[in-house]
């Protein structure tokens, strides 16, 4: 029987995920005079979920492979692997449809299915079913996961900085997702003037933030820029984390000459002045956000690698690693099953901090004119403002909104990162406060240990403490989720 709380979560989060993914791909091409009712039809537009075909292909391979591994390894039969394999098969069908195999013109970047939104919806439902089956098959582990998550959330909630960051970020993410509803994308066209150049703000909606040097609406640009700024930041941070965590864990676990090679590489990347390098690469490889993601990703990982390595060195000396070696576990198995979960809290908190750095980096590159000229980000807006001499007019309505948004978003991610740092790894907090080696501070991304306010300790939070484990009379088939 699946834990009651997990069931509720699945019921709540499945529609949320569906809504988010649909909004991300919601059609942009809406005529200027469309009313609100037409907007709802957009949810089933042919462009929704119309990804390039390699995305469903990757999903299909990953889901099916994971499902087959689980099927081979499972001790008792359950629906969980089958649900995964079904989801993988569905993603495979989606790939076949999207790549044009049906029509005989195969292309990995092809996107010629009009019912991609249907494929996406079914896939989300199948994955939700897989999670449901997992909860039913191993209720104890599900219960532990639910309990841990709630515990982390409790601690996180008591950290006012973290909550402030979460609210700010929720605001901007909502703005980015709802952009098609908030501002018509047609206003971003260079020919769509709404007034005179540099007209100050008025009360009319699209005039709230005045106009640009071309007489375009600053508000429309501002709202749509949130998408690029946030998504570039998040994807760059993802690349940086994968590289940094991988190299950091390998360096920390292996040590010796292999670790030395990894650390030498990290040192080289650490001393490379990232901005000149990024400028060279962006100037040479062209101007689009894929390149910027790649550049920011490959120049920002060394910090993560050093932090993760330091923590992996600590975990490596723990006793269960020795036990793992003694029973003949492979290096890969130990790194994946023992080191990674123990280092993970640090990686997670670090990733959030790297998002802040990546957003700043993207903004900087766009400001220098290296961004995609066809899309707007907050940095691109400031680039045009600078180029057109908005500071000398002074067109404050053009300069302030994007800058303030950047400050808020970066601040939000910094707050959230530090809050998670404290919540997820109390050991880290202790180590930092005890002084430690003199150069230890340089290994942290941000020297913010124990910010103002700070988190209460576990014992002070209602319901906190160490997991009591399932009670003696706990019956997995009759679990009420803690209710009488």
């Amino acid at each position: 029987m699946i834990p009651r709380r997990l069931r509720t979560w699945i019921l709540v989060w499945t529609p949320v995920v569906w809504l988010v993914l649909t909004l991300v791909t919601y059609p942009k091409d809406r005529p200027l005079d469309t009313g609100f009712v037409h907007l709802l039809g957009g949810f089933f537009a042919p462009t929704v979920a119309n990804y390039p075909a390699w995305i469903p292909l990757l999903l299909a391979i990953a889901l099916a492979a994971y499902g087959i591994v689980k099927l081979v390894r499972q001790a008792e039969s359950s629906w969980f692997p089958w649900a995964l394999i079904a989801a993988g098969a569905e993603a495979g069908l989606w790939f076949v449809a999207a790549s044009g195999l049906f029509h005989g013109h195969f292309s990995l970047s092809g996107r010629d299915t009009g019912i991609a939104w249907l494929f996406q919806t079914v896939l989300i439902v199948l994955i939700a079913a897989a999670v449901y089956a997992w909860g039913g098959a191993s209720p104890e582990r599900a219960e532990l996961t639910v309990w841990n998550t709630r515990q982390i959330w409790r601690l996180y909630r008591s950290n006012w900085q973290g909550m402030a960051g979460l609210y700010i970020m929720a605001f901007f993410v909502a703005m980015a997702l709802l952009a098609p509803f908030l501002a018509n994308h047609a206003f971003l066209d260079p020919t769509a003037q709404i007034g005179l150049p540099f007209a100050p703000p008025t009360l009319a909606y699209y005039h709230w933030f005045g106009t640009t040097e071309q007489g375009m609406s600053v508000l429309a640009e501002f709202i749509w820029s949130a998408r690029i700024s946030l998504s570039v930041g998040l994807s760059a941070a993802a690349i940086s984390t994968v590289l940094g965590a991988g190299i950091g864990i390998a360096a920390g676990y292996y040590g010796g000459w292999r670790g030395e090679i990894c650390m030498r590489l990290t040192d080289v990347f650490l001393v490379i002045p990232w901005l000149p390098l990024a400028m060279v690469l962006a100037a040479a490889w062209g101007q689009n956000y894929g390149i910027i993601v790649l550049i920011v990703g490959i120049t920002s990982w060394p910090g993560t690698a050093r932090v993760v390595r330091a923590d992996a060195l600590r975990v490596r000396e723990l006793q269960f690693i020795e036990r793992g070696r003694a029973i003949g576990s492979s290096n890969w198995h130990i790194m994946q099953k023992h080191i990674l979960p123990n280092v993970f809290p640090l990686i997670f908190a670090n990733t959030i901090l790297v998002v802040a750095i990546a957003i700043l980096a993207e903004t900087t590159l766009s400001f220098l004119g290296l961004g995609d000229p066809l899309n707007f980000s907050w940095g691109t807006m400031l680039h045009y403002a600078w180029d057109s001499g908005a500071a000398g007019l002074p067109a404050w309505w053009y300069l302030l909104p994007p800058g303030i948004a950047i400050v808020f978003v970066v601040l939000a991610f910094t707050f959230m990162g530090t809050a998670f740092d404290e919540v997820l790894d109390p050991k880290l907090r202790k180590r930092e406060e005890s002084g430690g080696r003199p150069d230890e501070g340089t290994d942290r991304l941000l020297p913010l240990g124990g910010g103002v306010g700070g988190t209460e300790s576990l014992a002070e939070v209602p319901g906190g403490g160490i997991w009591p484990g399932p009670a003696d009379d706990w019956d997995p088939h009759n679990d009420t989720g803690g209710r009488p």
Binding site: L275, L368, A391, G403, V407, E433, L448
Partner: protein, 323 residues
């Protein structure tokens, strides 16, 4: 650790990193698209002969490994070829841009370090006081602000609205100064805004790290001993706590000085300050590869040198390294 061994190790490490960076630089500018020889030949005099001549000139007709050897020979002699845009030797172009950057970054760093250290020490000493909450949160805001945005806002406020400071450049164009004194005054007048913006963006970081390391040091036993001896608060703070809390700051300040180039690009570009940052921005806009290559190498070497100096300073500042 033995002094000689410590220094040898650090210096060898730095040299190895420089070699790796320089090799990376070689590869980086070889994988860029476009035929460099095509860029070197002036448009009016284009011919296959001229192309071949330029190729031979820059050893582009040799195999890769031979190019690599020539690259090293030239780099060691500081021969980076001619700038595409200015038609002058790169070493000369870069050389005359170093001083403005040093002046700007030096002033900015001194302001930032001084303010950041003092506020950081006071905030860490009186943790959770009103002063701490205000300075630390504004420090985080400063840390989150993009440099170029601060530049633009300051130009808007201080140059456009208040007209206190000129918009950019080092001197007003076309002005001949009668004495070195008035020239120095004009320099200061132009320097204030860029240096202040530069300082603002680093101040927050210094404040946060000093505060954090001070908090750590205050838990040490010798602080308790100092208090038990009956020393006054200010004595404990400035004689026993603050000097030890400075150590991580030394690393950070040196690291940032090393990154002077990256830090200065934005400030210099917005304020038209004729330093290395503006040079690298201009050479990016003009696709002036030889200059970019030299600036990139110079920037990396600056970071490595700054790190090395930090390590050497550590040896004398922190007795624990010797043990």
């Amino acid at each position: 650790m033995d002094k000689r061994r410590y220094f040898t190790r650090k210096i060898l490490n730095a040299l190895l990193t420089i070699v790796l960076i320089a090799s990376f630089n070689f590869v980086l500018f070889r994988i860029l698209p476009g035929d460099p020889a095509r860029l070197l030949v002036p448009k009016g005099r284009f011919s296959m002969d001229a192309m071949a001549k330029q190729r031979a000139n820059f050893h582009l007709d040799k195999p890769m490994w031979e190019q690599f050897i020539y690259y090293w020979k030239d780099t060691v002699q500081l021969k980076f070829g001619d700038s595409f845009a200015q038609k002058r030797p790169v070493a000369q172009v870069v050389g005359e841009r170093i001083w403005p950057t040093v002046i700007l970054v030096g002033t900015g760093t001194i302001i930032a370090t001084a303010v950041g250290l003092v506020t950081g020490v006071i905030a860490g000493w009186r943790r959770n006081s009103k002063f701490d909450v205000i300075t630390t949160n504004s420090g985080m805001v400063m840390y989150s602000m993009p440099t170029f945005w601060v530049c633009l806002i300051f130009i808007m406020i201080f140059s456009t609205w208040l007209r206190w400071f000129p918009v950019g450049r080092m001197y007003d164009p076309g002005v001949v100064y009668t004495s070195w004194f008035s020239q120095f005054g004009a320099l200061l007048h132009h320097l204030f805004l860029p240096a202040f913006t530069f300082a603002i963006t680093y101040m927050g970081e210094y404040h946060l790290i000093v505060r954090s390391s001070l908090t750590g040091v205050m838990k040490e036993d010798y602080v308790l001993t100092a208090r038990a001896k009956g020393l006054s608060d200010s004595n404990v703070l400035w004689r026993h706590v603050a000097p030890n809390a400075m150590l991580p700051t030394v690393t950070l300040v040196m690291m940032n000085i090393g990154f002077v180039l990256s830090g200065a690009i934005l400030t210099e570009a917005v304020f038209n300050w004729p330093g290395l940052g503006l040079l690298s921005y201009d050479s990016m806009v003009q696709r002036d590869y030889p200059v970019m290559q030299a600036v990139f190498l110079l920037g990396s070497v600056a970071v490595i040198a700054a790190n090395l100096i930090a390590d050497i300073m550590y040896y004398y500042l922190d007795p624990r390294v010797k043990a």
